[in-house]
Amino acid sequence: MNELPQQLVNGLLLGSMYGLVAIGYTMVYGIVQLINFAHGEIFMTGAFGALTVYVYILPGGTSMWVALPLMLIGAIIVAVLVAVGAERFAYRPLRTAPRLAPLITAIGLSLALQQAVWAWYPEAKSARTFPQIPGGPFHIGNVTIQTGDIFLLAAAPISMAVLAYFVMKTRTGRGMQATAQDPDTAKLMGVNTDRIIVVAFALGAAFAAVGGVAYGLKYGQIDFRMGFILGLKAFTAAVLGGIGNIYGAMIGGIVLGIAETLATAYISDIPGMDKFGSQSWADVWAFVLLILVLLFRPQGLLGERVADRA
C-alpha cells in the first residue's frame, strides 16, 4: 500500500495550522518589525476562549454544528482582546525604545500569559479535553481524513482568501501595505498608523484563534503550554516563507509541516539513516531545510528584500 498521499495530507494539515499562526508573526513583523513571541500564547488563549464558550456558556449537549461557530467567535474575541491589550499596554509604550526592549517584553508576556491561564483557568493545570465533531473519518481513495481536520482544511484557505481580499482591496488593508513600506511617509499621507498597528495585531490574533480551535478539534485536548512549541514552529514557518509576506507565512507553514511529516516517515528508510529518522529528528531536518532555504534565499521563499531594514 502506498501511504505517500496520506503522509502528504498529514503534513498539509499540520502545515496549515503552522500557517494560520505564522500569519500573525509575519503581519506584526511586517508593520512594526517586532517579533511578537507572545503570539503562541495568543493562539493558546484563543483555544481556551473556544473551550469557555462550549463548557461554561452553552447549555450542555449543544450540537457541535451549532456550537462550533459560536466557539469560533468566542475564540476570536478572546484572542483579539488579549492581543490588542498586549499592543496597547506592553508594546505601544516601547515603540520608540531600542528593538531589544519590546522583544524581551514579548518573551515576558508569553510567560505571563501561560502562567495566568495555568493559575486561573479552571482545571488548566493539566490538559483539558476539547469537544469533538462527531462522525467517522472520510476516505478518499487511500487517504483518511478525520472529521476534526475538515474544519482545518476549510478554515485555512477561507482565512487566506479573506485576508488577501482585505489587504488588497480595502482602505485599511492598503493603509497596512503603506505602513509596512514606510511608516513615516504613510503617516504624512494621512494613514492613522496607530490604528493600523492595532488592526495588524487583531487580525493576527483572529487567525491564531482559528488555529487554536483547529488544534483543539484535531488533537482533542488543549493545555496552557500548547502555544510555546507551536509558536516557535509558526515563527520558523514565517521566516521560511519570508517574514513580512502573508502568503509566504502560509506557504512556509505548509512546507514546514510536510517536511516534518516526510522526515518522520521516510528518512529512516534511507539505508544507513535509520538512526536519524524518527520523529525526534524531524525538527532537526525541518531546521536543516530552513537553513538551506535561507542560504540560497535569505529573504525566505516569497520574501522581499529587506536588507535596508534588518
Binding site: P137, Y215, T264
Partner: protein
C-alpha cells in the same frame, strides 16, 4: 554625595538583615511546632504537582500525607509528629535537583518520598546520598537507578540512600511481552518510545523479551515528548501491518498517540507500562481506546485486602484528587520511612539521635512490614522484593484488571 551612598549601603544592609530574619522566623515556626508534640519529623515529597503528570503527582503527595496523618493519629512513633513538605518538580530533572537541595537543607527532613520520573530521580540521587538522606520512590522503574548503567550484565548498587517500592522496567517490559505473546497471541509488534529514561528502558526490555519468545518487531519509532501530532507515525504503523503497538512512555503522549493510530485506520491495541495506566489516558485517547492495555506494578490496589483500609481512609480524608496509579506505593514509601524512624528512635531510647539521617538510611535496608501493596521490604540493591505485576485493559471507559502475576524471569 557621600551621605547618599551611605544611605544606600544602610538600605542594602537593612534589606539583607530583614531577609535573614525572615528565614530565621520561618525556622522558628517549625521549632514551636515540635514543642507541642515532642519532635517533628518532616517527610519530604517530590513529585510533579502541576503540568501533564500532576494527576499522578498529586496522588503521591496525598497518599504520603495520609501515611503521616495515620502515624500521628495512632501515635505510632512515640514523641514524634510527622509532617509532609511537598515540592513540585514539574517532571523536570533540574527542578528535582533544586528541590532535593532544598530538602537536604531543611534539618527536620529525615526521608523523602518521590520522585515520579526516573529521569528526575537521576538528578536527585547524588544530592540525597551526599547528605545521607533516605529517598524512597513509589514510582521509579528505571533499572539503572538501583543496579547501575550495566544492570543487564553486572549489577552494582548505585546509592546506599535510594530505595523504591515500585518494581523495575527490567521486569515490567518482559512481563508485557510474555502476556502479549502467550496470552493475547500477538506476533507482530510496532515499538515506539519517547527516548526518556523510563520510556526507552521499557521499550528496550520489552523488545528483547518479545524477540526471544519468537515475536517479530515490524517497526520502531521514537517520538518527541513535546509533540502532539503523531499522524505521520500513525500512518507508518498502519503500513507496517503490526497487530499490536508497544509504547514506552507516559500518558500525555500515549493518549493522543493511541487515538491517532486508531484514526489512521489501524484498529490494534496500544500497550504500555505503568506510565499510561491512568484515567487521563482514556480521556485523551477517546472511545477508541477500548482494548488498549497497560502493565502496572503490583496488584490492583482496589483488589488487595491489605489495601481496603487505605482506600477507605483516603476517601474519608477527603482529598480532591484520586490516589491514582502510585497511591498505594506512595503510602508504603512514606510508611517505610516512618518505620525506619521508629526503629531509630526506639534504639536511641525514645529520642532522635544527632545523626538521625544516616541512622534512618541504615535502618531502611531492614525495614519489613505488611503495607498497602503487600509485603514491603528491600533487596540488596534497594529494590522492592515484591515483584507482582498486573495487566490492565480499557473497558467501558475505565481500566480493568486482566491478569495479575509474579514475574519469575
Amino acid at each position: 554625595m557621600r551621605q547618599r551612598s551611605l544611605i544606600a549601603i544602610t538600605a542594602a544592609l537593612a534589606a539583607g538583615a530583614l531577609t535573614l530574619t525572615a528565614c530565621g522566623s520561618r525556622g522558628g515556626d517549625k521549632g514551636s511546632d515540635s514543642g507541642k508534640g515532642g519532635t517533628t519529623v518532616t517527610i519530604g515529597v517530590d513529585a510533579p504537582l502541576t503540568g501533564d503528570l500532576s494527576a499522578l503527582g498529586l496522588g503521591i503527595k496525598n497518599s504520603a500525607d495520609l501515611a503521616a496523618k495515620t502515624a500521628n493519629k495512632k501515635n505510632y512513633v512515640k514523641g514524634v509528629t510527622f509532617k509532609i513538605e511537598a515540592r513540585d518538580d514539574q517532571a523536570q530533572p533540574s527542578s528535582g535537583q533544586q528541590n532535593a537541595t532544598a530538602l537536604v537543607a531543611d534539618k527536620n527532613v529525615l526521608g523523602v518520598v518521590g520522585p515520579l520520573n526516573s529521569s528526575v530521580a537521576e538528578s536527585m540521587q547524588k544530592v540525597f546520598d551526599d547528605a545521607k538522606l533516605v529517598e524512597v520512590s513509589p514510582a521509579n522503574t528505571g533499572p539503572a537507578l538501583t543496579q547501575g548503567p550495566d544492570w543487564r550484565t553486572k549489577k552494582v548498587r548505585q546509592f546506599k540512600s535510594y530505595f523504591r517500592t515500585a518494581t523495575t522496567d527490567a521486569i515490567q517490559g518482559p512481563f508485557a511481552a510474555q502476556y502479549l505473546y502467550n496470552d493475547a497471541k500477538k506476533k507482530k509488534v510496532f515499538v515506539i518510545d519517547d527516548k526518556k529514561t523510563y520510556g526507552a528502558g521499557l521499550a528496550g526490555t520489552f523488545t528483547d523479551e518479545f524477540k526471544k519468545l519468537g515475536g517479530k518487531i515490524v517497526g520502531t519509532e521514537h517520538i518527541n515528548p513535546d509533540a502532539k501530532d503523531f499522524s505521520a507515525i500513525a500512518t507508518e504503523v498502519k503500513k507496517s501491518g503490526a497487530d499490536v503497538v508497544y509504547y514506552g512512555g507516559e500518558y500525555p503522549q500515549a493518549g493522543p498517540l493511541s487515538k491517532q493510530i486508531k484514526a489512521a485506520g489501524a484498529k490494534i491495541p496500544l500497550v504500555g507500562g505503568d506510565g499510561i495506566y491512568d484515567p487521563t489516558f482514556i480521556k485523551l485517547a477517546g472511545a477508541d481506546s477500548t482494548g488498549d492495555l497497560a502493565t502496572s506494578v503490583g496488584a490492583p490496589v482496589e483488589s488487595l485486602p491489605s489495601a481496603k483500609q487505605f482506600v477507605a481512609d483516603y476517601k474519608a480524608a477527603g482529598y480532591k484528587d484520586e490516589y491514582a496509579a502510585y497511591g498505594g506505593y506512595s503510602y508504603d514509601s512514606a510508611w517505610a520511612i516512618i518505620e525506619a524512624v521508629k526503629k531509630v528512635v526506639d534504639d536511641n531510647g525514645g529520642k532522635l539521635p544527632d545523626d538521625a539521617r544516616a541512622k534512618v538510611t541504615a535502618a531502611m535496608q531492614n525495614v519489613s512490614f505488611d503495607g498497602v501493596t503487600g509485603k514491603v521490604s528491600f533487596d540488596e540493591f534497594g529494590d522492592a522484593t515484591n515483584k507482582q505485576l498486573t495487566v490492565y485493559a480499557v473497558k467501558n471507559g475505565a481500566w480493568a484488571a486482566e491478569k495479575s502475576g509474579t514475574y519469575t524471569g
